[in-house]
Subunit: 262 residues, 2 copies
């Protein structure tokens, strides 16, 4: 057999605003033999955002005209629509129940605003700066344990023409999120055509398999055996321009107004 790795889920208490995620990870993993150098720690973005206090009480939200229009068009609570508008750089349209947001060059349903796993009457937004949060957690884990790890902030997202959600990396530190394979050769010595591997998304998907989305309270996963993807020169998770994206580039060629609907 060739290379192998292991993935463990880490159960925690239900997180609340103000919780120190790094300290919780250190405590919960210590009982199971502790962290190792080279471990990759994947953290669910909703747990991180909650601990960081990125939650909004819906009854405090006053919906705008635009939000009320989206409620009519897409059957989405106008207060939720208002939060989504505030969290988005642009709204590209929607389907019933969801607005399609553009946020920092990434396309995502409802700007990542989540009603699941939030206290009654609240919604959780995406973490403000997932790369920065990953760096802070990395440093705190290193301080507490002396171990060099990789930190990945992950989300569960729908993909074009795929049924069901799978894992994506939305922030990282100490880890190569996208591996550049350009210049490498294939089995027959040709240059490779697939030039980039989304290592961070693959790791996030592996982590999601032990996390689940329901009442399992497993917001953290440890991936052991993939230390080859650790890097001292980690630049966080890069996004791509819509024009470079096969799906959106094609949609834009067909209709240049697609991304400028306001």
């Amino acid at each position: 057999m060739a290379i192998s790795f292991q993935v463990f889920g880490i159960k925690t208490k239900i997180l609340v605003p103000g919780d120190d995620i790094a300290a919780i990870i250190e405590k919960e993993t210590k009982q199971a033999g502790g962290l190792f150098d080279g471990d990759i720690i994947a953290i669910a973005e909703s747990a991180l955002a909650t601990a960081e206090g990125s939650i909004i009480k819906l009854s405090d939200v006053c919906p705008s005209e635009e939000a009320l229009e989206y409620e009519k068009a897409y059957k989405i609570d106008a207060r939720l629509a208002e939060v989504v508008i505030n969290e988005s750089d642009n709204i590209a349209g929607g389907i019933p129940g969801f607005l399609l947001s553009l946020k920092k060059g990434t396309l995502l349903p409802n700007a990542g605003v989540d009603e699941s796993n939030a206290p009654e009457g609240y919604v959780v937004t995406l973490p403000k700066d997932p790369d920065k949060s990953a760096e802070n957690i990395y440093r705190k884990i290193y301080e507490l344990t002396g171990k060099k790890t990789g930190i990945l902030i992950i989300d569960s997202r729908t993909h074009a023409m795929r049924l069901g959600c799978s894992g994506v990396a939305i922030g990282c530190f100490g880890i190569t999120a996208v591996s550049d394979e350009r210049g490498k050769k294939d089995l027959f010595g040709h240059q490779l055509e697939v030039t980039r591997l989304a290592i961070g998304d693959n790791l996030a998907s592996a982590a999601e398999l032990v996390m689940g989305e329901s009442d399992e309270c497993t917001p953290v996963a440890i991936i052991r055996g993939m230390s080859k993807h650790l890097s001292e020169n980690s630049f966080g998770v890069e996004s791509i321009e819509p024009s470079e994206c096969l799906f959106m580039g094609t949609a834009m060629n067909a209709n240049p107004a697609f991304f400028n609907r306001d």
Copy 2:
């Protein structure tokens, strides 16, 4: 700690048309302790397609007018474009180097036709019927080992607005590719909003981490510890309608002609 699983890469010789993948898997895993009941076996689609003889010699291909137009518009070899046209139900457009194909309800670059990891002067198409191939391999593995496994045929694909390719399931047998979470409760007892988990895509992504895309010759991965996703009622990998897809639904609302360009 909560649940955990392991992923092993399985190295093989370079596969050629006529190879028996199930027999090769049985042989290579036997040397490493053998397969277990509940193991999930992920197989790279390019290796499967090659073994099944789904390879085409480019010098035998005579490009049509349409293919010559795509060569001009998208800088793609007209013979490759011709193979892509034949493998597609429809071409939705493209970006330099790639045509965007619709095939059996799925949207994918160059209809999955791959020049990498094919013998010189050949291309590999997608396996003809990945669900059926998965079933055949399942039955042969069971015959050879007596073990009940899950079989996953996987590909590495680009996703909307993500940098880099990650793993997706394109065929399966004995395994639940998409888990329906509707009716389950979240941490606070609410109904879940994310209703479906792409277990097959998550498993494919985990497998891809031990396979790589270059000259590593590791076309198979064993995932051990995820037997909860095995199922006697496996219906293969379901696709979704473009109108149900957040990305394509929005693009179609903006421009209904997007999927009917011929």
